[in-house]
Every structure is written in C-alpha cells, then in structure tokens.
Amino acid sequence: MSAASRIPQIARRLLLAATAVTVVSIPAFAQDTMKLGLVAAMSGQSAKSGEAIVRGMSIAIDEINAKGGVLGKKVELVVRDDESNPAKGVVAARELVQREGVVGLFGGLDTPVSMAIVPFANQAKVPFMGVWAAGTPITRNGAAENYVFRVSAVDVLVDKALLAYAVKKYNAKKPGMILINNSWGESNEKGLKVALEEKGMASVGIEKFQDADVDVVPQLTRLKEAGADVLFMVANVAPSSQVVKSLDRMGWDVPIVSHWGPAGGRFSELAGPSGAKVHFIQTFSFNGNPSPKAKDIFAKLQAKYPEIKTLADVTPAVGIANSYDAMHLMTLAIGKAGSTDGSKIREGFYAIDKYDGLIKSYAKPFTPANHDALSSEDYIFTYFKEGQILPLTN
C-alpha cells in the first residue's frame, strides 16, 4: 500500500515541471480501479443532496461494473464532503486529482462550490461533470479549453422556462421576483431579466430576502402594491416556505413559479397546504413517469437502499437521475477516449452519439459549443402534495 502510493508521489514530483496532463494520468497507472471523484455537500443543510447523488451514481456504477467496467477496470467512486464551502470544495478537488488520482470529477448542489472548482478543472485538464448546481457560468465559463460538462438544469434556460410557463399557464403580464440574497439568486435575477427582455416584458419589482428571514411580508407587500400578477421564486426549501407562509398571512393568492429549491426538502411540511400552489421546475420525476427505465432504476434503488420504501423517500429525484445519467455519460466518454488522459476524455464526450438514459434518450449530448446535456425541453413542472413531488400535466 505504502509503496504503491509512494510511486505516484515521486513520479508526480519529477513530472511537476512537465505538462499537467502527465501529472494527472500518472497516478491512474498505479491503480487497478478507475477512480472517479465526487465533491458534494455530505453534511450540513444540503446533506440530502449529496446522499441522492451518491445513490444515483452507485446504481450506475453497479451497472457499469456488472458489464466489466470501463477500459477493463472497475469504476470506483471517491467521495469528498465540501460542506457547501467553496474553499473546502477546491481543496477536496485538488486532493482527489493529485493524491487519489481520479480521472474525472463530479460536482454537487452548490453553485458557488462548483464555480470555485471550474478554474482548477480547466487548468488541470480534468473533466468536471456537474450533476446539480445550475449556475449558468459553470459550463459557460469562457475557458479556451473547457473541461466542464453538466447533466442538470442551467439557470439561464430555467429562467426562460419559468417565464414561458408563467405566460402560458397564468397569462402573466406583470411578474415580480422574490429571490434569495446570494449568488444563486443573483444568477437568476440576470437570467430572468434577459428572458423578460427577449419577450419585451419587464418585472414590476425585484425583492431579495435572507435565509434567516422569519417574515417576508414587507418584501411581498411591495410586490403586491407594484401590481405583480405572478411571482418568480428562487430560494432553497426553508426560505421558500417562509415566502409561502408570509403569503398566507397576507391573504395574497398569487401564482408562484419557482426554480427547484422547494424540491430539496420537506416543503409540504414546512410550507403547509399552500405549498401545493408553488409550481417548480425539475429535470426528472419518478412519479407519473411511464418509462420502464424509471421503474427499473427505482427497483434497483429499493434493493440497494432498504430505507427507500416509497417514492416519497427519493425526493428530490433530480439528484438521483442527473447523477445516474452523468456517471454513465462520463464512463462512455472515457470509453470513447480509450484513455484516462483528460483532454482525450474531453474529446470522448463530443464523440458520444447516443445514450439511452434515465431522464431521456440522449443524442449527441455534448458538442464543443454545448456542454449541457439537458435543454429547456427536458424540464418539467411539478408541485408538492403531501410530501410527494408530482408532475403537472399541462
């Protein structure tokens, strides 16, 4: 063990002056498994998201390894906790690449953490696959050689979808925004403004609120007095429920079209019955999903994790579905590359023609111009009813 791990270390030192590509590929030679790294929130308020990602990936890895793995090696997932902290995320990503010798990285729920890893991944030429964080600049990062791919929603596309939904479903003319006061809220403020501009519309008000705000009535009252006919909401589950409770108290019955924050926890419980009025975006739902693949994966999840009894135990399903498809796509890319060399894997992503996934059947999911495998046509709108996320039919 010690000898095996010392070799790559010495090798790395010798090769530090050489190209980063070599640095990355050296440790992999010493392994008899194909190591892939995951940097996600495994503790703290977003810990459930990390659990969902690990579950989705584990099911995919079981399938891949049952068919002999990739490049003749079994796939092994190495997980690191970023505690939703960007600095810790970068350290973990470095450690995974440089010490564990992973050939590819996966990211978690938090956009700020992923944003911090992006420059490192591009510099070290290690493919970095987003499976949850929707921040637009994660994949659209402006790097000449972009190593960042994603199987998840993209804020800028989500914002267009939110507007399209609000207009179609509620005939919205004067939308207002209620956004969490962080970089995620910021990213969507920009996205929503662009989406509105494209349709020749404008918002009647943009209000921010904090995670710890008990009362959002003052902000909402401003939006009401400005004449908002639909609210766009961007916030995680607990603050989202504060918005719903505040609306209840005001007695203001206004349609809410939301990003996927409410999906991240017990929204029905926190927001009360009015939580069902919130229509939010998802990339996947096991509920009401007719595909045999969805049934098969759910059965596999139940077999592997006995604590999963009903569909309510796999909310939010997006984390599982995105990470399941992302893992398959990553190994397909490595297979196409025929090598663990980062830049070859990157080309390998472009070479994937077709993959029958859980979310959809992917055809040419990645091109040099598009590193996002999902588009706005893949989004669905859902709502929470008694603890379950149900799809909305129209």
Partner: protein, 290 residues
C-alpha cells in the same frame, strides 16, 4: 397596509431579538460575562420543543416546560465548563469558549436531530387575523407581549426582590457579596441558566413562524448581541426597547427602501447610534475602579 404589516412584523421579530438579548443582559449584570452561544440556546429550545411536542407527542405545556428546563441546564453546563474556569482566573477566554460551545451544540444537533429543517406547527400561527387590514398570526402579537412582560419582570426582580439585589451585588464586589452570605457561584450559575432559558423561550416562540433546524439560531444570536449593546447591556428595559426598535427598523427599511438595503442601513444605524450614545439607549456608563 404596508406600514401596519411592517410594524407587526418588526414588533414580533424585534421582540425575539430582545428576548435573546435579555439573556446577554442577565449574565452581564451578574458576572460581567456573556454567553456567546445564546443563538444556539435559542435553537436548542426550538429543537427540544419540537422533539417533545411533535415527535414524542407530549402535551404542549409539558413539552415547553421540559425544553426550558433543559435549556437552563445547558446554561449551567456553559457556566461551569466554559465560563467559570476562565473567569475565575481573570482570563477572557470564556469569550471564545462560549462561541466554541455554541458551534459544538449546533453540530451535535445536526447529527442527532437531522439535517433537514422541520416544521413546528402551532394553532397560534395557522389562521391569520386581520389587524387594520393587515393579516397577522395571533402568535405575532403574543411574542411582543411576552418579551415586554419579561423585561418588566426582570427589571422589577433586580430592583425590588432580595434575590435580584443579591444577584446585582455579586458584580459590584464578589468578596463583599460573599461576606454578606451570598453564594456567588450559585448566583452566577443561576444567571446563566436564566439567560439560556430566555433564549430557549425565544426559540420556542419563533419556531412556528419559522422552521426548526440546527443553524436557525446563528444570525439571531449575532443580531441579539448587537441589540444588547445598542440597548445598553446593563438595562433590561433598554435591551428590550433596542430589540423592538431594531426589528421595526429592519421591517420598515425593507418595506420602504427595499430588501437590498436592509442589512446595510440597519447595521449602519447601529454604528451611528453607538457613536452618539456609547452606553447604549438606556445603559449607564461603566466606571471601573483601579
């Protein structure tokens, strides 16, 4: 309507700040130390209340009493383990020790209670009633009453009861107090138990309006400390008044200037207020004898 709803919101939230800040006041006037884990004590009250009332299904009065008793016990532990060993040596390390204690508690709760925010429903926060055209939960009106009531009770207790006077005697001169037959250690321990119980009460009161999770107390603790300083930490009524004013200020800024400016303006006002009134709204100048 904007004004009424902002005032109601501000009163309720401000009273919460005031209640937690009263905890800072109580230990400060007795021992010149404060418990920086007040935010965590508030969280503990809510988490215990949730566990007893919702998870275990106990009757609410019993759940509340038990939660407050355990919060008081936590205060005793904080005093004994994190404050006394340092304060009696004349060290200020209790400052960091109580911060650390709060972080430890937050993380213990994270692992035992769980990572997900939970709801603590109450019939007092279900059906809004109309007050001058603005919707209000009855609980939002009860919180300020409880807060002001406790501030008045503390004021009276400290000035007109034997126990209160004994507690205040401790801070003036420990040795003299001891010679007069006051158990100084017990007096200080009592003040810490009282302070965490007050924070726990704040947690129990806010829980139905908010959600229960391990990090819920963090920002409250920080704001409450600002409020305690603003009110002049030596005066119970000053602290409560500062809490309510700060809550109102936040709500009114949000309502009229927009939420972008809330924190900037509110904390700027705190800084200006302290520059103009260094002893806080109703605090007395501290004279230190050397």
């Amino acid at each position: 309507m904007l004004l009424i709803s902002a005032i109601v919101s501000g009163l309720a939230v401000g009273s919460m700040y005031g209640l937690i800040a009263l905890g800072f006041h109580v230990t400060y006037v007795v021992s010149n130390t404060v418990n920086f884990s007040q935010g965590s004590s508030m969280m503990l009250g809510a988490v215990l209340g949730y566990t007893f009332a919702i998870k275990l299904g106990w009757p609410m009065p019993l759940a509340v009493a038990m939660a407050l008793a355990l919060c008081a016990l936590f205060g005793l532990v904080v005093e004994r383990a994190l404050v006394r060993p340092f304060a009696e040596r004349g060290s200020n390390a209790w400052l960091m020790a109580t911060v650390a204690g709060g972080i430890v508690l937050d993380n213990i709760v994270l692992f035992t209670f769980g990572k997900e925010p939970r709801a603590f429903p109450s019939f007092l926060a279900q059906k809004p009633i109309s007050l001058f055209g603005a919707g209000v939960f009855p609980l939002q009106l009860i919180i300020p009453l409880v807060g002001i009531g406790i501030a008045i009770a503390l004021h009276l207790a400290f000035h007109y009861t034997r126990l209160g006077k004994a507690l205040l005697a401790v801070v003036q001169n420990k040795d003299a107090a001891r010679l007069m037959g006051i158990n100084v250690r017990r007096a200080i321990a009592f003040s810490f138990a009282l302070s965490t119980a007050l924070a726990g009460l704040a947690g129990l009161l806010i829980a139905p309006l908010f959600s229960v999770h391990s990090e819920m107390g963090m920002l409250f603790g920080i704001k409450a400390f600002a409020v305690a300083i603003l009110g002049g930490v030596t005066s119970a009524s000053g602290v409560m008044l500062a809490g309510i004013l700060y809550g109102l200020l936040e709500a009114l800024i949000t309502a009229y200037a927009g939420s972008t400016y809330t924190q900037i303006v509110a904390f700027t006002v705190v800084i200006i207020a302290l520059a103009v009134m260094p002893n806080g709204l109703l605090g007395r100048a501290a004279s230190k004898k050397v």
